[in-house]
């Protein structure tokens, strides 16, 4: 097991290097001068620009800039953004926001998705199942933008059930509306997957065996079908979680949640290679770690793929 983990982590290193280098190169190749971006349309004295350029190593060649950024990241010495924000502060501030949002959204998504998916899968072709299929189709077809704007306007501005935006009311109030929207939009996928998985599993031979053993329906469902049907769902949930440090750029922007997504978007606009790479590294690390955890969990759930 330890060997498995180590092997996976070692394999991640070259990928991490390529990811960070690639992202840095992309940002580096973006047209325009990063510092001018910072200044908006206002002329900035040459001396000020030069001083800033030196401070952020923008006068160095590409590879040196990249290595300096990586050094900063690896030594935990994040420095400041072009605008002067302490990056470590920003992370301390923003990671919890993104975590709260994604976890709450995922909780909504999982709860709804699992409940409806399991129910629909068990009562296949029933009323609930058919409605679920229809509703999920519609949900999957609604562009996220529509949903976010509509929800903010209806539930925030008009009905005043939720705060319109921001995080002032803290957790969970401020996060409820965006998390609900993300969760409801996302539940469609999970519910369909769960349902499909159950339908597939119901037909498996071992379910026949279980029935032939004279087990009650409930026991067959919960002890035999569900543990097997959950396996692909675990993978899906893992992928979902692994992507969470990417942040929800659009949701965070519309609901004014100061999370990693907005930070990333801002950094891209300002061409802050260092920040973009730092955030990409974070996203990458969480991707690797969560994937690893999911694989380990999967190994526990499914003895066939145990990693020794």
């Amino acid at each position: 097991m330890i060997r498995f983990v180590l092997r996976r982590l070692l394999a991640a290193i070259p990928i991490g290097v390529i990811v960070t280098l690639g992202v840095f190169a992309l940002v580096f190749a973006m047209p325009g001068d990063p510092l001018r971006e910072l200044a908006g349309d206002k002329p900035i004295p040459a001396a000020v620009l030069a001083a800033k350029r030196a401070q952020f190593h923008l006068d160095e060649p590409f590879l040196v800039q990249y290595l300096l950024s990586m050094k900063d990241i690896l030594t935990g010495n994040f420095g400041t953004t072009f605008a002067g924000a302490d990056i470590a502060d920003q992370l301390r501030l923003r990671i919890p926001v993104t975590l709260k949002l994604t976890l709450l959204a995922n909780a909504v998504q999982w709860t709804l998705g699992l409940i409806f998916g399991i129910y629909a899968g068990f009562k296949r072709n029933g009323l609930i199942d058919r409605s679920l299929l229809l509703v999920t189709l519609v949900l999957l077809a609604v562009p996220g933008l529509v949903a976010y704007f509509a929800a903010q306007f209806v539930f925030g501005v008009q009905l005043k059930w939720f705060p319109v935006s921001g995080v002032l009311e803290g957790f969970p109030n401020s996060y409820l509306l965006p998390a609900l929207v993300i969760g409801v939009l996302g539940f469609a996928g999970l519910a369909r997957l769960m349902r499909t998985s159950i339908v597939e599993t119901v037909n498996a031979d071992f379910v026949k065996t279980a029935r032939a053993k004279g087990l009650g329906e409930q026991r067959v469902l919960w002890r035999h079908i569900l543990p097997n049907a959950l396996l692909p769902v675990v993978t899906f949930i893992g992928l979902d979680l692994a992507g969470m440090f990417g942040g929800a750029i659009i949701t965070e922007s519309i609901f004014n949640l100061p999370g990693l997504g907005q930070f990333m978007f801002q950094a891209i606009k300002l061409k802050e290679g260092g920040v973009v790479v730092l955030l990409s590294t974070l996203a990458f690390l969480s991707f690797i770690v969560i994937n690893l955890l999911v694989d380990l969990l999967y190994g526990i759930l499914d003895p066939r793929v145990r990693h020794v």
């Binding site: 990928i15 390529i18 973006m30 189709l137 077809a141 562009p143 933008l145 529509v146 997957l193 891209i268």
Partner: protein, 298 residues
């Protein structure tokens, strides 16, 4: 987009060991489903709009009178006017082309790329597999939207082809994984072994034996994913990296109109068209999936 993709791939994965239908059988099975027929007709209408918009409207979408900006409908202008005072119906009709092109080309391109790479990776374990899979890992690990934004911000001219290209770049790994795992299950089947033993060259085996038997799940995933592409295009406009005028597309129409709450017709129509097209694609994807499902064939 990624959500839909993940679900679809997981859903489709179950088909991996399914037996394959002949095309005619598949078509016959599909035509028996009314929802499939209805959605196909709808899509045909959309495709026709994309191909020959003139048939649907005689108005010039680019004839605009600013004084009519955002007016609601009037005789001869069933959808009213857009912000520029152009006939909105004509604009929505003409908007079909980029939307359909982006969604179809991106999906089809992803299908081709993912299919090819998946075939290669699944059939040639070792170096080829490692190369392709590790590349996919890299792309998986970077948030897709970030790559989209960065690249689209960098290119001098955002045409639909650029947008399609970037979607291809970040879209293929998901399908590749699916294809690869399907190929794994097919590559040791008797007919493949037989072909190999009589010395059929590998590429021919891939083309004639492996691909036809392994493509069903990827195909289902692709059809289910097509609709999401239009929504993605709208999101790009919101983020300031969408299509530029004079291109007219549902995504950019919606993206631009989203802020104008007081004239709801501006976003209702494109949103309706986007959703209808998306749902149609999904139902068709569902139908194909069901038709391919061996459990229902018994």
């Amino acid at each position: 987009m990624s959500d839909v993709q993940a679900v679809v791939s997981a859903e489709a994965q179950e088909l991996g060991d399914g037996r394959t239908l002949s095309n005619r059988e598949l078509l016959r099975a599909l035509l028996r489903k009314p929802q499939f027929v209805l959605c196909s007709l709808l899509l045909l209408v959309f495709f026709a709009m994309a191909a020959v918009p003139k048939v649907f409207t005689s108005a010039d979408p680019r004839f605009c009178e600013l004084s009519k900006s955002r007016h609601s409908r009037e005789p001869g202008h069933p959808f009213g006017f857009d912000i520029q005072g152009c006939d909105y119906f004509a604009n929505v009709v003409y908007g079909a082309r980029p939307s359909v092109l982006v969604s179809i080309c991106a999906s089809f391109g992803v299908f081709i790329l993912a299919g090819t790479f998946g075939l290669l990776a699944g059939y040639f374990p070792g170096f080829v597999d490692a190369l392709i899979s590790r590349t996919a890992d890299v792309l998986f690990a970077v948030p897709g939207l970030v790559v989209l934004i960065v690249i689209l911000n960098s290119v001098p001219n955002r045409s639909i082809w650029i947008i399609v290209g970037v979607i291809l770049l970040i879209g293929w790994p998901g399908g590749m994984r699916l294809m690869r795992s399907t190929v794994f299950s097919v590559r040791n089947r008797e007919y493949v072994l037989a072909a190999r033993s009589i010395g059929v060259p590998p590429l021919r085996i891939l083309r004639k034996h492996v691909f036809p038997n392994a493509m069903a799940p990827l195909l289902a995933m692709t059809t289910l994913g097509i609709g999401g592409m239009v929504g993605l295009e709208a999101a790009l406009t919101f983020l300031g990296v969408g299509l530029q005028p004079p291109s007219i597309s549902w995504g950019s129409q919606f993206g631009v109109a989203a802020s104008y709450r007081d004239t709801p017709h501006l976003f209702l129509w494109p949103a309706l068209f986007i959703s209808t097209m998306t749902i149609s694609f999904m139902i068709i994807g569902d139908s194909i999936r069901d038709a391919l499902d061996p459990k229902l064939l018994r």
